[in-house]
């Protein structure tokens, strides 16, 4: 069974459904989370580096600018994201009885 991933990792993977530059990812995450999550560039770069090592994302360059990296989901990254989504859905389904408490 796949281990759960952190919230920050989940949103990074989610923001990479379309290849994006780091800054675009940051904006994407803020949008996706409705402004709830604002990730600093230092935090995000740290997480991206770990995820790259784990083979969840890969990086490339565009327009011959080797400083600016464009990030893409790997097949493994997609799989991890989908599995996490399924897991979260299951969690929500299992906790549906809590709706009455809201």
């Amino acid at each position: 069974m796949q281990q759960s991933i952190s919230e920050a990792m989940y949103y990074i993977l989610l923001s990479l459904l379309q290849p994006a530059y780091g800054y675009e990812m940051m904006k994407g995450i803020k949008e996706l989370s409705g402004g709830r999550i604002e990730m600093g560039p230092g935090t995000m770069y740290g997480i991206i580096s770990r995820m790259k090592k784990d083979g969840l994302i890969e990086q490339g360059t565009m327009n011959n600018d080797d400083r600016r990296k464009i990030y893409l989901l790997t097949e493994e990254g997609k799989e991890v994201l989908v599995n996490e989504y399924k897991r979260l859905k299951l969690l929500v389904k299992d906790g549906v009885c809590l709706e009455d408490l809201l």
Partner: protein, 397 residues
């Protein structure tokens, strides 16, 4: 402004150690408020360029083990930060305060990694320097301890050794003292501060900003290493800058020639290994506290070969003459004060080694002779250098 001239650039001592990020960020922001924008940070100084006073934000990022990746820098720049300068593993980014550039990290807990590295390297550096100091500063004097001199004798010998070094190689000795003194004091302080900062970041505490300048700390932290660099450069210049004279070239005072001692004969080459100093010419060297001349001369007389190795020091500070002579004598267990006409003090360290003081001149004479015994004291007394009133010696410099 100086008399209508507006300075475009300004240099200031770095505010604090690079890893104290709050202090450094605060310093550069305060300078921007006064109209000085950070341009470059060097080892000791920061360079600022004149601008309108403005509200700037500066953020320091430490790379830790390796360089900050280009992609990370590009990401920061995309977010509105500009990389202003880099010094070692310290990267400084700047942005206008109202630019909306986001903080690098959500919490200080994420900033602990470079501090772990810093703490490890500082520990190692302290240990390496202590071992270095033991090897180079203390161990050479341990033989006194073995002879039963005790710890006090070790320090006594060290004191004598470094007094001689201070007079002969002032700049280099001061460099070593400054460097090791600085390391011994600053490194443990750095370690303590880094550990404190590491712990506070681990607990998620905010980065602290200072409330006022600490001028004296800046001067010591930057001035001492800077002075060490200056002394080191000076010692290199002095090492290579030496004058050489032929002994036969007219006035060779204050050096004493064998001819002046009425030791006549054919000059013979100085044997390698006989003396530490091998040159058949007078070598003049200048240090900050002294000027000294060295010569080794050898002659074949009817009674055998006579060699004289001598170093003559002109000690610039009168008060240093006595401790310097004491230090020169320190290595010799036998030392007898002898009477030599025309000098202030004279010591025989054995039948062939003499230390003679005349005013600020200190003579170190080592004779080697084969054949018949020569009464060196009697010979020295007849030497012109010691029999005249000595005034001409002062004119030499």
């Amino acid at each position: 402004m100086l008399g209508g001239f507006i300075m475009k650039y300004r240099y200031k001592f770095n505010y604090d150690d690079y890893y104290l990020i709050g202090e450094n960020e605060w310093f550069y922001e305060e300078m921007a408020k006064k109209g000085w924008i950070l341009k470059k940070r060097g080892i000791f100084l920061s360079k600022f360029i004149r601008s309108e006073p403005c509200e700037m934000s500066y953020r320091v990022e430490l790379a830790g083990k390796s360089k900050l990746p280009k992609a990370q820098i590009a990401l920061y720049e995309d977010c509105g930060w500009e990389m202003v300068t880099r010094m070692g593993d310290m990267y400084i980014f700047g942005a206008l305060k109202d630019s909306g550039a986001p903080e690098f990290y959500g919490s200080t807990m994420e900033r602990t990694v470079p501090y772990k590295h810093l703490i490890n390297t500082t520990w190692k550096s302290i240990l390496i320097n202590i071992v270095n100091m033991l090897i180079f500063f203390v161990l050479p004097f341990i033989n006194v301890f073995r002879r039963g001199g005790g710890i006090g004798a070790i320090f006594g010998n060290m004191g004598a050794y470094y007094t001689v070094d201070l007079v002969k190689s002032t700049a280099l000795t001061l460099t070593l003292f400054l460097v090791y003194g600085f390391i011994l004091i600053v490194m443990p302080i750095r370690l303590y501060k880094a550990v404190k900062l590491f712990r506070s970041f681990k607990n998620g505490e905010e980065i602290k900003r200072p409330k006022k300048k600490n001028l004296w700390k800046n001067i010591v932290m930057n001035g001492v290493p800077m002075l060490a660099v200056v002394f080191f450069l000076l010692s290199i210049v002095q090492f290579f800058h030496k004058s050489k004279y032929e002994l036969s070239d007219g006035n060779h005072k204050p050096i004493i020639s064998l001819a002046e001692l009425n030791i006549e004969g054919e000059s013979t080459p100085v044997r390698e290994g006989e003396y530490s100093f091998i040159d058949d010419r007078i070598v003049e060297r200048r240090a900050l506290l002294s000027t000294f001349w060295e010569l080794t001369e050898s002659k074949m007389t009817d009674d055998g070969e006579v060699s004289l190795y001598q170093t003559v020091y002109y000690v610039k500070n009168k008060n240093l003459v006595k401790p310097f002579v004491e230090a020169l004598k320190n290595d010799y267990s036998y030392c007898e004060e002898i009477e030599v006409q025309g000098v202030d003090k004279a010591f025989a360290l054995n039948e062939e080694k003499f230390c003679i003081v005349k005013g600020r001149y200190v003579y170190w004479l080592e004779f080697r002779r084969g054949g018949e015994f020569i009464d060196i004291v009697e010979v020295l007394e007849k030497t012109e250098v010691f029999t005249d009133n000595g005034e001409y010696l002062e004119d030499l410099l």
